[in-house]
């Protein structure tokens, strides 16, 4: 064992946070070992972006029942295009407390969920980091401000390539390094006009999709297949944008199929000295040694590793002297879209509306200073999708059959819209995750988690009702016909794949797990760099903030190394 190398930093995970951590640490000369639980993939081989449904044996859907009953929010992800990338819950289950629901999307391959992510890159705003003191007194503030993070948003935008508008709106900042935004589709213009009649601002959606060639990566070719992985790396993913530049450096080592089980502690110093991991191929356990450990394995996995590292000193989970590890889990308030069509677009010839895969415009939060704080807190965003897609569109939802029905489908196909939104999710200590007390283990034999998460709380219903009403108002102002829809209960935590919290940052070690540099209060050489560190969960997408915070934490860690403090 003595001959085993001691790395400066062991980075656990290779996705949004892990990819950035590896980039930041290795390019500053630190000796980095990255451990990824999944296998290595190649975009040219493992992504099937340009395959039509009829190119697949089951038209993309898999054999009936093949993927089991997928939880809310995963049904559209696991398809024949992607079933070799995602973990299928039935094959590697996780536990739920009675009545609890959680949608855990796992992509155990190099690059993690950056392979098939939504690509939206909103920055959090000043009010989001200080929601308690600057908005309504509820919950906790982050120990950092927008100004602390802004330079790192800049760095991430420069590194990954984001198309969008440099101008922000109130509390949704823009960015100075953005590539030109994409051209909106017909329906998006109509919604913009409608919303603006109501005084609601619509802005270009910042997307990690290249509107021109950037850093040796090609511009988007507008095929629209991004959800299945981009074969040419026109959208950011760490597989193509991070690791090719690091492998080959003498100070960087990537080890795939290495599922980290625990953090190894040094009894004498009280510091972490490495990790144990299980090789997914032979199921044997190994050790790797480092002077610091960066957990970037995804919210759930990083928390699971800390719990599974419990020891005599930390019987309730490593770095959990506060008792808050695994608690204050959050997710957007999300529910079904409203659908319908624009009469002014019905019956027109079809157009290629794929564009950059995502919508080009969206409605950022606008309800600042609202007076209904007894009913709900904070606000929401709306995203909408319009035009000709790879499905029959709204007409197919209508009753009937036969030639008239078929003609109606064709007539409404180019006029389709759907609109949906994310509301701010709140952090409660009763939304938590723990190691399953009944002893469930995953396919590698590692103790698995159990979720105690409930999305159906009063704020969520109240903000949902407000959002439904606002969406209707906006679409009517845009001249659209809205189909009848059913209001549904807020979707489970995890269903947007925006789960966050569980090892929140804070200044007080009694009420938080991490300090303002993402270091564990209890063990300063363990950093949790992923969404587990989140304190609030505004309506914005979270990946940009994950990457910016990972960059900031690792920049600081590198500085600490230079000062000899690690």
């Amino acid at each position: 064992m003595a001959s085993q190398p001691v790395y400066d930093v062991i980075v656990v995970g290779s996705g949004a946070a892990g990819g950035i951590a590896c980039h930041v640490l290795a390019t500053q000369g630190l000796k980095v070992l990255c451990l990824e639980a999944g296998r290595r993939i190649e975009s040219a081989k493992d992504f099937h972006t340009h395959t039509f449904p009829y190119g697949w044996t089951y038209r993309g859907n898999g054999k009936p029942g093949q993927y089991g009953k997928l939880p809310q929010g995963m049904e559209w992800k696991i398809k024949e295009w992607t079933d070799h990338l995602y973990t299928i819950p039935d094959e590697d289950p996780y536990a739920l407390a009675p009545g609890a629901k959680f949608t855990w999307t796992r992509m155990r391959v190099l690059g993690g969920r950056t392979n098939c992510w939504g690509r939206g890159c909103d920055r959090f705003g000043p009010l989001d980091f200080k929601a308690k003191s600057l908005q309504d007194g509820w919950g906790e503030d982050w120990p950092i401000t927008y100004d602390d993070v802004a330079p790192y948003y800049d760095k991430v935008e420069q590194f990954i390539g984001v198309a969008g508008s440099p101008e922000g709106v109130y509390n949704t900042p823009g960015g100075k390094y953005l590539l030109p935004p994409f051209n909106p589709r017909c329906g998006e213009w109509l919604i913009k006009k409608g919303a603006e009649k109501l005084g609601i601002k619509v802005r270009p959606k910042p997307l990690a999709v290249l509107s021109k060639p950037y850093h040796g990566r090609p511009a988007c070719h507008y095929c629209g297949g991004c959800n299945w992985g981009c074969e040419v790396a026109a959208r950011y993913g760490s597989v193509d944008s991070v690791f090719p530049h690091l492998e080959g450096l003498p100070n960087f080592t990537l080890r795939t199929n290495a599922a980290v089980h625990t953090v190894l502690m040094d009894r004498n110093t009280g510091k972490a000295r490495g990790v144990t991991y299980i090789d997914a191929r032979n199921k044997q356990e190994y050790e790797a040694y480092g002077k610091a450990v960066v957990l970037a394995a995804s919210m759930v996995e990083s928390i699971r590793i800390l719990f599974n590292s419990r020891n005599r000193e930390y019987p309730n989970g490593l770095a959990n002297s506060s008792g808050t590890l695994g608690r204050y889990l959050m997710e957007h308030v999300a529910f079904n879209d409203i659908q319908g069509f624009f009469p002014q677009l019905a019956g027109r010839p079809t157009t290629n509306d794929d564009g950059p895969g995502e919508s080009c415009l969206y409605i950022p939060r606008y309800n600042y200073g609202h007076k209904d704080t007894k009913k709900y807190l904070r606000g929401w965003r709306f995203d909408f999708y319009t035009g000709c897609g790879m499905g029959p569109g709204p007409g197919a939802e209508l009753p009937g059959f036969g030639s008239a029905y078929k003609k109606k489908i064709k007539e409404l196909y180019p006029a389709a819209f759907s609109i949906g939104g994310y509301g701010e999710g709140l952090a409660f200590d009763w939304n938590y995750v723990e190691i399953d007390p009944d002893g469930l283990r995953d396919r590698l034999g590692i103790p698995q988690v159990r979720f105690h998460t409930f999305a159906e709380y009063p704020h969520a219903f109240a903000i949902r009702d407000e959002m439904y009403a606002q969406m209707e108002e906006i679409m009517r102002a845009a001249g659209a016909e809205i189909f009848p829809y059913k209001k549904v209960a807020p979707y489970p935590l995890g269903s947007v794949t925006h789960e966050a919290g569980g090892a929140r940052m804070g200044d007080d070690p009694k009420t938080s797990v991490l300090d303002k540099w993402n270091r564990c209060h209890d063990v300063k050489n363990i950093i949790v760099a992923d969404a587990a560190c989140f304190v609030t969960h505004p309506e914005k997408q979270i990946t940009h903030t994950i990457m910016a915070l990972a960059w900031r934490a690792c920049d600081h860690l590198a500085e600490e190394f230079r000062r000899g403090n690690v």
Binding site: R39, R40, E42, S43, A44, K45, D46, H48, H50, T51, P53, Y54, G55, W56, T57, Y58, R59, P64, G65, G68, D83, F182, N183, R185, C186, E188, K193, P213, H215, G216, P218, A219, C220, H221, Y222, C223, G225, E231, A233, D240, F243, P244, G248, Q344, T350, N352, D353, D354, G355, P356, C388, M390, P392, P399, G400, F401, G402, S403, K406, K410
Partner: protein
């Protein structure tokens, strides 16, 4: 030029496709990066991937000619053909018949044996029920009815779709038939490309978006 830039699979996938036309060549010139970027083109990044190799393979229902029935008996299949062609008929545009929707449904229902055998039972029971309803009402099997009576029966079965207070014993099967017909039709080349005229999942050098001033002002 191609192999070094973005790898052999890409070469096969894109360049063969694109360099065969003038528009394709123009596209390539505009779109190609100035230097290699992808993992698959970097030294040391090719591999071992211990994959899960995943290669798109079309369904026998789309490739086998003639298609050999796997699940339905010939008389059942005839009924499935009639029903799917009633949902999406051939008119001035191709329909379920041209898209061979019944073949695909036969293949999918057959394939349900492994994980969702209840789907097989729903189809057998549904076809049995429709013949029973047909016999009760008109004295013969559904496939023997004249078109107008088939239309009447299917319309009756679909009543709850229009009227939430209506009920019909055949409604569940009608919904299954309709949803699987729509899925089979709109995921077929005939339904998606020929009928809907979906133009995407392709290569463009630029995306103009909306080009109609009246939508924008």
């Amino acid at each position: 030029m191609s192999g070094k830039l973005i790898g052999r699979r890409h070469a096969l996938k894109y360049f063969g496709l694109l360099s065969s036309s003038a528009a394709g060549i123009e596209f390539l010139e505009n779109w190609l990066p100035q230097r290699p970027a992808l993992a698959s083109s970097m030294p040391g990044m090719q591999g071992p991937t211990n994959a899960d190799e995943s290669v798109p393979t079309p369904s026998p229902a789309d490739t086998e000619s003639p298609y050999v029935l796997r699940f339905f008996k010939p008389d059942e299949f005839r009924t499935v053909e009639i029903l799917t062609e009633m949902i999406i008929p051939t008119d001035d545009q191709p329909g379920a018949k041209e898209a061979k929707v019944a073949n695909y449904i036969d293949f999918v229902v057959y394939s349900a044996a492994e994980f969702e055998p209840s789907l097989q039972k729903q189809w057998i029971d549904g076809l049995h029920l429709i013949n029973k309803l047909s016999a009760e009402k008109y004295g013969s099997a559904f496939s023997d009815l004249p078109g107008a009576q088939r239309e009447d029966l299917l319309t009756e079965m679909s009543a709850p779709e229009h009227d939430p207070n209506a009920e019909h014993p055949g409604y569940a099967f009608y919904k299954l038939l309709k949803s699987m017909t729509l899925e089979a039709f709109f995921t077929s080349k005939v339904g998606l490309i020929d009928f809907l005229e979906y133009k995407g999942l392709t290569f463009l050098t630029s995306f103009p978006g909306c080009t109609h001033p009246e939508h924008q002002t």
